[in-house]
Subunit: 307 residues, 2 copies
């Protein structure tokens, strides 16, 4: 049990990430009290029942009122509206953060609603599962996961405090600027997810191969694509709409490369394929050497060590 | 310990699959003796040292001589030359099988070299790891994995015997025709692998994002792509060159779908993205319901339960 880092934390949106934060803050005593807001009565009731919030409110403004830390944990496309609602109710000196997968668009949407004296520090925990909703959270979700934070104009004290919260929940924290964050994530996460969605979509309407066969033989490579493609549709719609530029950039590069390999297959150019496949081994070696691989390579989605 | 199913088995090629078969046949007493052939002296020595072969030979013909079952476990592109070499030395009534990832091309390459009285039953165990070579094999590689066999013109008795061998090594055996096999695998394995290779290639030459960042944040989705893209280059070159038609067909469908989603991103069509991402959840549900998911979703590559 650490000393509480914040007196009052408000979780706006009570899905996988916020509920996991709630459980983690409770488990390690990082907040004196946790207020929560979700749109539906059922979600608010679940938060109280599961105990990851002390109080719940029907509006974001009420939940944010008097909080030292407000965590925006709604889909990226909803951040602006929430910020507009809570802006006038924020305590001077409060920190506002978020957990969205895109950072430039969140800053554009949220910052205009925060008056001087509010510390805004966007964040992005690189953690998740294929499940969503208030009952999917667990305290150890962030253990040994990266959390990227964007210090921007915030005071060093406020940044240090938010960093301490994430470290208290088990994360490794890195600071980054928003544009670079969006590019890095476009490569390591957003484009791979879109590709997985696409491949599953192809299989879905391929009538010569029955669905039962695709499912039966999915372990041959396809299964992990389906895991990713089962992620929350609202969240991912917003990611692609709001990280449009970087995603389209990486997608353009991807299709150029794919066409080159496709042409090599069509022309029977074995040498080109062999050389390409040999080069890609180097990155894999780097990951193994960096200790970033685990026995459960699942896009960071395994629910481990629940207690 | 079962009764031996074959008296003398010859493994031609001593990489991951053949060495795992050797270990499995030894562990469960499925062959009275195992002969092996590999091109290099070092690989042959490893086979004897690790004990998954009883004898090794410098030529495929010597290894195959007198065998009841000959397993062609070389890259798909090398199958024809091996069949030509061993053809004249095969015992009448012997069964020839293979473990290649493509079936029509293997049949075209191998069948002409086998005279009447030889039973040819192509096979494909859907199992593997990212590692290769004689030291990468282990007895339990095929446990609870599918093995697809192509009965073709072979006698029911010969098919039943080969099926018993694979079942003895822990596999679930299914029969299928060669063209259908190649299409199913193009969807569930070959195209996903090519896509993974491509995505890793994109990351590799992207200079604005440093390699260390890609590696560091790879768990956000990219890591599993690198695992696949580290697979044996020779094997995968041959897969794409020999399953050209089905792979190009699926790749064509894939790029059509991808362009549709890319356009939706560019046009800001959130409804189309949301609907697409919602549809892809159904296949995932099917996989979970069919019990084809495990806690280690790794494209079937985890080395579990070694003993």
């Amino acid at each position: 049990m650490s000393a509480p880092i914040y007196d009052r934390v408000a979780l706006i949106g009570l899905g996988l990430i916020a509920s996991s934060m709630g459980h983690a803050m409770k488990k390690w005593g990082l907040a004196r009290s946790i207020a929560g807001h979700a749109k539906t009565e059922a979600t608010r009731a679940a938060a109280l029942e599961l105990g990851f919030c002390d109080e719940v409110f029907a509006t974001a403004a009420e939940a944010a009122d008097g909080a030292d830390l407000v965590v925006l944990a709604v889909p990226v496309g909803a951040m602006g509206a929430v910020a507009a609602e809570i802006g006038p109710h924020l305590k001077l000196g409060a920190t506002v953060t978020d957990v969205g997968s895109v950072k430039q668009a969140v800053i554009e949407a949220v910052a205009p609603h925060l008056r001087a004296g509010i510390e805004f520090i966007p964040g992005h925990p690189l953690a998740g599962t294929e499940h969503s909703g208030p009952r999917s959270g667990f305290a150890t979700l962030f253990q040994n996961r990266w959390c990227l934070i964007i210090p921007g104009e915030a005071s060093p004290e406020a940044v240090a405090r938010l960093r301490a919260l994430w470290e208290g929940m088990g994360s490794n924290v890195e600071e980054m600027d928003a544009a670079h964050h969006d590019l890095v994530l476009a490569v390591t996460s957003h484009t791979p997810h879109l590709i997985a969605y696409t491949m599953v979509g192809v299989a879905d309407h391929l009538r010569r191969v029955t669905e039962s066969e695709i499912i039966k033989y999915s372990a041959a490579g396809f299964r992990d694509f389906t895991r990713i493609a089962a992620s929350d549709p609202t969240m991912w719609r917003d990611v692609f709409l709001t990280n449009k530029e970087a995603t389209l950039d990486i997608l353009g590069r991807f299709t150029e490369e794919l066409f080159m390999l496709q042409r090599a297959i069509r022309m029977g150019d074995g040498e080109e394929l062999f050389d390409y496949f040999t080069r890609t081994r180097a990155i894999r070696r780097g990951i193994i050497e960096a200790g970033q691989d685990t026995a459960a390579p699942d896009f960071g989605r395994t629910k481990v060590d629940e207690k």
